[in-house]
Symmetry: C2
């Protein structure tokens, strides 16, 4: 199929997505280096769109000798076709030095910055570039070798947000067209590019791929390029679909989060298929470390195994200085796992602190325990109190204390027919995570423990009809 | 991690899937060639399972000189470890000649056939083989080069059905273990394999990969093997998940099917994401051509574009001699698209055929049109007839005929305020596919058309209170 028809067909197939970005009122920017790819692209697009709608953009790389001639060529070509042309000169060498980038990276950055600025200035919503199928094969192979994950196997996308300007689309209409077809097109229309595309914008690594590895791989399979392109197309669609599902499922299992921590619902996470369990962990890392795009296979796999296997207390590190901790119903991921303590009441002193009645004792992270005398309350109402963070106790005359547990301590939980239980066992049964147990607040008095905060009072202090003083205890976050 | 622990951990992680296949009562078969991989595997498994539960299986390849010595070595090793051992000699060269296979294919077939037969005989439900991580990297690279689709990028699976015996599991407990780790294990336990694993069971293509391409790729990325293994692990999970969803969605859009044709609901198919639209077409081909496992990217892509774009009448070929046809609400895929005609009424004669009253005219593929006189029917009942395949007409005294349409013919559809419409336009509006229009039955009489079968009678023949003879026409498949 001729190049024009292929680009036309591509535009039609993608039109639903492209339409809002290509209204007749807005110009379409075309990045034109002067090489065969972008020259053919400009020529094809002026067959499809009115010339007035097109704008050529050329970055004059200060660092290349031929740059003047190239810029002039692009300007003249655009003018002769009736197309507006913007040229900007950037000192790429200076930019590279200044921002500690390779020349290639600096050139790429300068180009996309220029396109974004120019598009905004002239009201363009899309920028078309000349990347073709041979570029795509190289990109896929490069990602495959470098190990950038399934995302990398997609190669370049036919439509993606312009780097640095997510509201503007970057279009690659020639992505399925081979270099040979582009060169044939140039010949047919007598387009005479100023330089050889095979030397354009290539890093050392890419050059080795192009001139050494791809020819060698063609000895194994002459169709290797087509093969890599097809793989990219298949993976891109599969990835897009999985990505959307993974977003949805991640949101569903994300229980709570702060700026530097989050907690996943473990049962929900365990119920996901393997593919989405991995994806959810990856998303969790990205949520806390947005700039960490390359999260390798192994740390995610290690975290998955720990999260699946260890019932509670298991921990493993994740990239970006994060730690995953397995709790009973939660998987927490945080830079400092201890920060999660603010979620739960924890004592601050190692010794017992007197709790006056009425009065309060301050706990860690804004939690408090308050006490007050109550009178005239209906006994049935007290006995049916549904709030675990409020307790009514027969105060007697003994002073109360707030402290942490001691080894071997026991409580006779109300309603357990008088049998006593170890605090440790109660805490495990009540699913208080191990790291919180040491500093979990307990209310004590001279004649014994009164309340395992949030989890039940002792039989001994229960309020009966003959209670003289009723104390209401309340634990809350302020 | 030591080899034993890794195999143990793998067994634990997969235990939910493995348990039914590894009951203490059933033996576990282990394929032992005598090379380091299978020797290490046998040694590790006898550390984990009781020796009485293990059975070594060795295929004596008639065609290799060393085969006698290898078989004897495996037998002696198994005996000295207290493990039962079965050895079978197969004339692989003869098998290759007989079935026109390469020596490697014949060897592979002979091995799996032997394992399947032996497993069935001794009641084993699983066979373990020694494929390791280096084999996996080679397999992935081989599939990548040969272009066997995303399925191929999964490489070998840790657990899969045994080829030719889907009820028996093929296990690869060493799939994540490197060749180096296996060799180190052999050294630690002083296991002395009879031959060099690097020359075991390798085709020319695989040998080139191992000795030429992989070392070269390591020059681009020293971690290339790990990279390929991780890719396989990621793709395997993503593929498994997508595959399950694709099965589900395919079933949902499959409208009807026969042994050599099927029809998809087009609207449902169009509503699927790209990934699943491709997968559904692939499944459709597999449903009709079960042995055609390698369906390339391009025919599926071509079919997808035709199926998406062409409103109706579009056709394209698919592998296996299949043809996809776009109809209004359906995508039909069939070896012979005409076979689908049996679904719809079509005339058989090119000339008009008299329809006696009462009487019948035979159509194609078992369809008939029947006529009878009716009397005593309530007019309201006739006018509210809901069945498009039944028509009541004022018969007058004119003979009726069944025939196909002629160019330019018009009908005044009942209820359209007397306006006439071209039959062709009516057929298009009623979504009669183009290929069915020529032979779609029409009931004609001397004074004009009476019924476009299934789609409405002419105003002229409508039954009123003064009708003398009422004819009931009925079209049905017998």
């Amino acid at each position: 199929m001729a190049l024009e028809k292929r680009v036309q067909a591509w535009l039609e197939e993608e039109w639903a997505r492209l339409r809002p970005f290509l209204p007749p009122s807005a110009p379409l920017l075309i990045a034109v280096s002067g090489g065969p790819d972008s020259l053919a692209l400009l020529h094809v697009l002026q067959e499809i769109f009115p010339a007035e709608q097109l704008v050529a953009a050329h970055l004059h790389h200060g660092w290349r000798e031929e740059a003047d001639a190239e810029a002039e060529f692009v300007r003249q070509t655009a003018v002769s076709w009736g197309i507006a042309c913007f040229i900007e000169e950037v000192d790429v060498v200076g930019l590279a030095r200044e921002q500690a980038l390779s020349l290639e990276e600096a050139g790429r950055k300068a180009r996309y910055d220029f396109f974004a600025r120019l598009a905004t200035k002239i009201g363009a919503k899309a920028v078309a570039v000349g990347h073709h199928a041979d570029d795509q094969a190289e990109t896929v192979l490069m990602h495959l070798l470098r190990g950038s994950g399934l995302a990398g196997l997609r190669g370049m996308l036919p439509i993606s947000p312009l780097p640095g300007a997510p509201d503007i689309l970057l279009l690659r209409p020639l992505l399925a067209v081979s270099r040979a077809a582009i060169e044939a097109y140039c010949k047919t229309y007598d387009l005479q590019p100023v330089f050889d595309a095979t030397n354009e914008d290539t890093t050392f690594f890419r050059n080795r791929l192009r001139h050494e590895l791809l020819p060698l791989l063609a000895g194994y399979n002459p169709q290797i390029k087509a093969r890599l392109q097809h793989m990219a197309a298949v993976v891109a669609a599969d990835y897009a679909f999985l990505d959307e599902l993974a977003d949805e499922k991640y949101t569903a299992v994300l229980r709570e989060s702060g700026s530097d921590w989050l907690a996943l619902d473990r049962a929900g996470w365990l119920a996901l298929p393997l593919s989405l369990r991995r994806a959810a962990l990856r998303r969790a890392v990205w949520q806390l470390r947005a700039d960490l795009r390359d999260v390798g296979f192994q740390p995610i796999e290690q975290a998955r195994l720990v999260a699946e296997k260890d019932a509670t207390g298991g921990q493993t590190t994740l990239p970006g200085g994060l730690v995953l901790t397995v709790e009973y119903e939660r998987l927490t991921i945080a830079a400092d796992p201890d920060v999660l303590l603010f979620d739960e009441p924890q004592i601050v002193e190692d010794t017992a602190v007197p709790l006056p009645v009425p009065g309060r004792v301050q706990l860690a992270n804004g939690w408090v325990i308050e006490s007050e005398l109550v009178s005239g309350m209906d006994l049935a109402h007290i006995q049916s109190n549904p709030d675990p963070w409020t307790a009514y106790v027969d105060g007697g005359d003994e002073p109360l204390f707030v402290r942490g547990r001691q080894p071997g301590e026991r409580l006779r939980p109300l309603g357990m027919s008088g049998q006593s239980a170890k605090l440790k066992v109660m805490m495990i049964n009540r699913k208080i995570p191990a790291r919180l147990r040491e500093k979990w607040p307990i209310i004590d008095s001279a004649s014994g423990l009164a309340w395992l905060v949030g989890h039940g009072i002792d039989e001994r202090v229960k309020v009966t009809a003959v209670a003289q003083t009723i104390v209401r205890l309340h634990c809350r976050k302020t």
